[in-house]
Symmetry: C2
Subunit: 361 residues, 2 copies
């Protein structure tokens, strides 16, 4: 509760008996300061403990920053509406700092639209980039182009570990597979087989999906495994009839399935098909708190959802970029967000939080 006032440049100048301008040059390493004077000022700064007033600095700089995002369009995939909420919230908090967000959307599962939007993004000449690269190969060439620009780059949702220098905020996909394993282990009690279901296309070009697969397998590798694990992929998931037929065939050949792991946010499609088939006692583990999924969770049709917090991904993604722009420190690093186990009893609390406007500072 000491009553010390915040130290300003002016205070340092007075203490070191120089002008504000000289202190300013020392602080920003602009040179043009006599060595002995610089030493003296450095000492004073150390002594008084200066930290810049970001408020005043922002106002004085009067600079505008443009953050460009490159994400899948929410129109095609409900999941991608969630990061938007976080981005919006971050923008609200930082628009007074001169931050603008220019959004570029590509069509999920359409490589060309990715390339196209990527080029448009680069043409827009942004000060920082937030992206989720859903295509492994194409994203590599994008990274290469961006590398020369020397601007902060951060990826969410899809971690490409090949490029360590690119920082990432999002789920630890491998670990989420392991977590799913644990959940099945608790819920199934050594009875029945587990079906791992990829509802979507070109899994081989999406490393994060394969990581989940490995995670689940590895979980059971460490113990004497009482479960068989089946892997299936189905592209035309939105066609419920075809999905139903597809599942029917699986159940015909494998009678013992007790749990199904849907490796993305589309478990609500699966449930529709299972309803048609009349399967009610399966343990379903899926991802993400889409409205549809949550409803089924409450009805007991889905047992567990693993939340990868896409809202927070968007929110922290932008805020981190803002931070690195304003403070021009490259603090960007990789951050794995928590994986929340969501059941009927706590889903509302997660949902409320997602709707609730957070503090807009």
């Amino acid at each position: 509760m000491s009553k010390k006032k915040r130290i300003r440049i002016k205070d340092i100048a007075a203490d070191a008996q120089v002008s504000r301008g000289t202190v300013d040059r020392v602080l920003h390493n602009r040179g043009r300061v006599a060595p002995d004077v610089k030493a003296k000022i450095d000492k004073t700064i150390e002594k008084l403990g200066y930290s810049p007033n970001i408020i005043a600095s922002t106002l004085a700089k009067n600079k505008e920053y443009h953050i460009a995002t490159l994400l899948p369009s929410p129109d095609m995939d409900n999941y991608w509406a969630l990061p938007q909420i976080g981005i919006e919230r971050a923008l609200k908090a930082s628009k007074d700092f001169g931050i603008h967000v220019d959004q570029f959307f590509y069509i999920m599962e359409n490589v060309n639209s990715f390339k196209e939007q990527a080029d448009l993004l680069i043409q827009s000449n942004p000060d920082a980039i937030l992206l989720s690269a859903e295509f492994y190969r194409e994203s590599l060439s994008f990274y290469k182009k961006v590398a020369n620009l020397n601007i902060p780059l951060l990826s969410i949702n899809t971690h490409i570990p090949t490029l360590e220098k690119v920082s990432y905020i999002g789920q630890h996909s491998y670990q989420s597979g392991k977590l799913a394993g644990r959940i099945f282990d608790i819920a199934l009690r050594n009875k029945g087989d587990i079906l791992m279901l990829h509802l979507g296309s070109s899994v081989d070009n999406a490393p994060h999906i394969m990581d989940k697969e490995r995670g689940l397998s590895d979980y059971f590798q460490t113990k004497t495994n009482p479960y068989n694990i089946l892997k299936e992929e189905f592209e035309d998931y939105a066609n419920i009839d075809r999905l139903t037929t597809f599942l029917y065939n699986i159940f015909e050949s494998t009678k013992n399935i007790a749990g199904i792991f849907v490796t993305n946010s589309r478990s609500y499609y699966l449930v529709q098909a299972l309803e048609l088939l009349g399967y009610h006692d399966l343990c379903i583990v899926g991802f993400d708190l889409l409205e549809e999924n949550c409803q089924l969770l409450k009805n007991g049709k889905i047992d567990f959802l693993i939340n990868q917090d896409p809202i927070k991904q968007g929110n922290l993604g932008i805020l981190n970029l803002v931070d690195s722009l304003l403070y021009q420190r490259s603090n960007l690093k990789t951050l794995y967000l928590p994986l929340d186990i969501v059941v009927a009893e706590n889903v509302d609390l997660y949902m409320q939080n997602e709707i609730e406007t957070f503090v807009t500072l």
Copy 2:
């Protein structure tokens, strides 16, 4: 991607052909403006869409705010070190806005120190208050004193619903009891009894603990309950020998206990005692990600921890008060944070997030 510039007071003044000062008076309802002029300016504001630049406003106001906190001392109870992390983080983000945090700590389970610190707090004449009132009766009288001050007041961790006007950020205790019920239901599979254990004193003066109790009971009320639920309270929990004896007696009289629900963050004491007694196969559900608890979770000695996110409670608590001070809007409301189910497979992700410095905007 429209290129519209941010509207300033100056722009409104120009458009309405008045001076900045007049616009300022309209914006702040300071009066002293001719009615027709005010109407004109209001229309222009509407037309151009002004929103104040909080950066410039903060700088110009040059005002210092003092937020006082009244929380249990972390020295007595590790749990209370966690909100501190969140408070520290919030302070870092908002100190440039002239925010100061003055902390008052009371000794847990010592009513007098609460009253004493509460008085000191009021004497310090704060601009806003963050508190956790662990004593039901005493907190009521504190609320009464504070009500006259007419300053923002927000409570965390302990919700006193009797006073609806006091906003709250924290766990939904009742729901956390229900969640524990569900967890036992999944893990125990209709076998054995559940011991609900309060490690601490004067539960009758701590409504949030009683809410957890009700939640657990109610969960099983809705279904044909295969479990017996025992309730026990033990005050001298830090004395492992005595705790061990206490538990020994319980197990002697009740042979069928399969799960233990520790209603606060002190499950690591329980595990110490259970080790001495040689019980290894019980399903333990506790609260909060204390270092000690997390270690036991990874070792498999604790099965589940429910995270009430005390860090976020402290963080959002302060940030909300900051928000209401800076924007002088009373946006304070009650927010129930998510209840995270934490197991060995996701605990590290929660811990990493707690250590990791978040964006300091």
